[in-house]
């Protein structure tokens, strides 16, 4: 597992959205929303990396920046060893065949005026795959079958389907170009519980069948825990904790992850009564003006002296210290080996900033 280079790697990634005034011809920047603010991350071939965080933490922006749907303001995104910033517009477009996105809202992510067959076939048309009317039709039917839809419904429009079926259409579209890397951006958030389970199981099966690599972006820690091999926790534009899923979720090392895990309601009254829920005070600060030092310090129950002054970096925690802590500091140079362990960006594990 160790030797192989990661499929996707982000280094020092920033995505800032300048908010411009609406004056014609003088669109001066009024403030800058730092949606992603210095992220180092890699996704290994064949794994599922879960990315959790609350609304506004930048997780969706990060996911879309990894497939270059949003251009980074600084830092690099490498796909299969190639820096995507060096690619021409047309080279980037053909690279899009190898990566795909499944969007959250199955009602908004399908063009209401195109049949689902047209929607699923769009990547084929764009990349000139399965040329010829009959062959393309057959391929669309095949894709629909793979995701559990009736191929005879290819001529129907999105509004004629239920939410779960629409999400299957979105998944079929994502699979059409036979991608290697799929960003699942809150794929189950707007679905009913029983349909969520269907879609999660489908995603797991597709990964197994086609050797897909997933970035599973979600606010739902239980869902992430169900499908992800590794988990990254995001807060206000930064990764605050990352590691193997059982390790991060069952033994959180960052106070934010701890609060997040403790806030997830368990479907068991016995466990709920026994639970000691950590209720955080206050709201998430504005990503346009993050706090100095550690971004979580304004809500952190364990805040202490260095927090306002030093911006913590990801560092190995717990039993993983043996891996060599110093390698992980300044993660932009860290290699895949050092990042395998459980890391958290918190001064409780040693003040490093």
């Amino acid at each position: 597992m160790a030797g192989e280079p990661p499929l996707v790697r982000a280094s020092g990634l920033h995505v800032h959205f300048p908010m411009r005034s609406q004056m014609p011809f003088r669109r001066s920047v009024t403030e800058v929303v730092r949606a992603v603010d210095g992220v180092d991350l890699h996704v290994r071939r064949g794994e599922t990396l879960g990315l959790v965080g609350e609304s506004g933490c930048g997780k969706s922006t990060l996911g879309q920046a990894l497939v270059r749907l949003i251009d980074p303001s600084a830092g690099t995104v490498e796909f299969d060893g190639v820096d995507t910033a060096t690619l021409s517009a047309s080279a980037l477009r053909s690279l899009r065949r190898r990566m795909a996105v499944i969007f959250q809202d199955p009602f908004a992510s399908l063009d209401p005026r195109r049949t689902v067959g047209d929607t699923i076939g769009e990547p084929l048309a764009i990349h000139g795959l399965h040329r010829g009317r009959r062959r393309r039709r057959a391929r669309i039917g095949e894709l629909m079958e793979v995701v559990g839809l009736d191929p005879d419904h290819r001529g129907r429009y999105p509004h004629e389907f239920s939410g779960g079926q629409r999400q299957r259409v979105g998944i079929a579209r994502a699979l059409a170009g036979e991608p290697e890397f799929v960003v699942c951006d809150e794929p189950i958030a707007s679905l009913d519980v029983s349909v969520q389970a269907q879609v999660m199981n489908l995603l797991v099966r597709l990964q197994r069948d086609f050797g897909l690599t997933y970035l599973f972006v979600s606010h739902d820690l239980a869902a992430v825990r169900q499908v992800a091999d590794r988990v990254a926790v995001m807060y206000l534009g930064r990764i605050v904790e990352i590691g193997a899923a059982p390790s991060v979720v069952d033994d959180p090392q960052h106070p934010y992850t701890e609060a997040l895990v403790s806030a997830v309601p368990a479907p068991s009254p016995r466990k709920e009564r026994a639970r000691d829920r950590i209720v955080l005070g206050g709201d998430i600060p504005s990503p346009a003006a993050p706090p100095s030092g550690c971004r979580f310090r304004t809500r952190c129950p364990k805040v202490f002296d260095p927090c306002p002054h030093y911006d913590p970096v990801l560092q190995p925690v717990g039993g993983d210290d043996a891996l060599g802590g110093d390698d992980a500091v300044g993660g932009d140079t860290g290699d895949a080996d050092a990042a395998q362990g459980h890391q958290a960006a918190c001064h409780l594990h040693g003040v490093r900033g």
Binding site: S94, A100, L110, D111, P112, Y157, E160, F161, A176
Partner: protein, 303 residues
């Protein structure tokens, strides 16, 4: 025609082309059918006006000036003793042509401007929309007159002038819809699949902004026909003695107390035409929307 449409629909129509289905659905709406029939009749009159009209458009009946409607002159006669009914029939050609061509010009130019300005934004938006604001700021008639002062009077130039004057409305309507559609997730999804700007604009943006554009088109047709009337009235559009509804309406105003029929019938012709365009436009808008389409054809959603 209508019964046929009703019978044909419930049959499984999977392989029927979308255009045929659109027409069949339109046929189920009685209002659309009536408007379609009216417009069809108008086109026939416009093309074969000379054959249908009982008299020549410039044929004068000596001593028969300002006669009230009668069996001989259905719509009465004007101040020169010309048959108003015949002139209304001949006028259909001019009014329809001016309306359609002028609106065609503003439709193409305005939609293109709106699409580009709304989709690409930034400086292109600023330049295009400020230009359109400038056009918009002039009173429409003044603008048209100014353009005709440069181009010279005449029917063709009037069409161009009216086309230019109504371009900013289309640009605005289109841009406003593009601004909201541009942010839709399905646009992002299409880009994620590798679609370029041309494809996104043609396959996703344009179809999804068509509804307000169709409505604007039918409204503008009415205004274009009226603008032609106004331009002709000040002598810059259709030149006398050629008939156009607008001209006739304007001329009839002077005789409204002696001969109400001179203004009423061309006015009625404009009214009926505009109404027909509006009704057909609304029906078309509904039929072209797949969501409305299912409701119309009785297929339930959320299968």
């Amino acid at each position: 025609m209508r019964d046929e449409a009703l019978d044909a629909l419930p049959v499984e129509g999977k392989h029927r082309s979308r255009w045929v289905e659109t027409l069949l659905l339109l046929g189920r709406n009685p209002m659309a059918l009536v408007s379609g029939a009216v417009l069809f009749a108008l086109v026939v009159v416009a093309v074969f006006g000379a054959a249908v009209a009982p008299y020549g458009y410039n044929e004068q009946f000596a001593g028969g000036q300002l006669e009230a409607p009668s069996g001989q002159h259905w719509f009465g006669t004007d101040e020169f003793g010309r048959d108003v009914f015949s002139r209304v029939l001949f006028g259909a050609e001019v009014s329809l042509r001016v309306g359609l061509v002028a609106v065609g010009i503003s439709l193409v130019a305005g939609v293109l401007m709106g699409l580009l300005a709304g989709y690409f934004g930034r400086w292109l938006d600023d330049v295009l929309m400020r230009f359109s604001d400038m056009l918009f700021a002039f009173p429409a008639m003044l603008m048209a007159i100014a353009i005709l002062a440069i181009l010279g009077p005449g029917e063709n130039n009037a069409m161009i002038a009216i086309g230019i004057v109504y371009t900013p409305i289309f640009a605005r309507v289109t841009r406003a819809s593009v601004l909201s559609v541009r942010e839709e997730i399905y646009i992002r999804a299409s880009r994620a699949s590798g679609a370029g700007n041309t494809r996104v604009l043609a396959r996703h943006v344009l179809p999804n902004v068509s509804a307000p554009i169709i409505v604007q088109t039918t409204v503008s047709l009415a205004f274009a026909i009226l603008s032609e009337a106004a331009l002709s009235f000040v002598g810059l559009g259709t030149q006398p003695p050629d008939p156009s509804w607008g001209r006739m309406l304007s001329e009839g105003r002077g005789f409204i107390e002696q001969a109400w029929w001179m203004a009423l019938f061309p006015g009625l012709a404009i009214f009926v035409t505009v109404l027909a365009f509006n009704v057909l436009g609304d029906a078309l808008r509904d039929v072209l929307d797949p969501r409305q389409r299912s409701a119309l054809s009785g297929k339930g959603g959320g299968a």
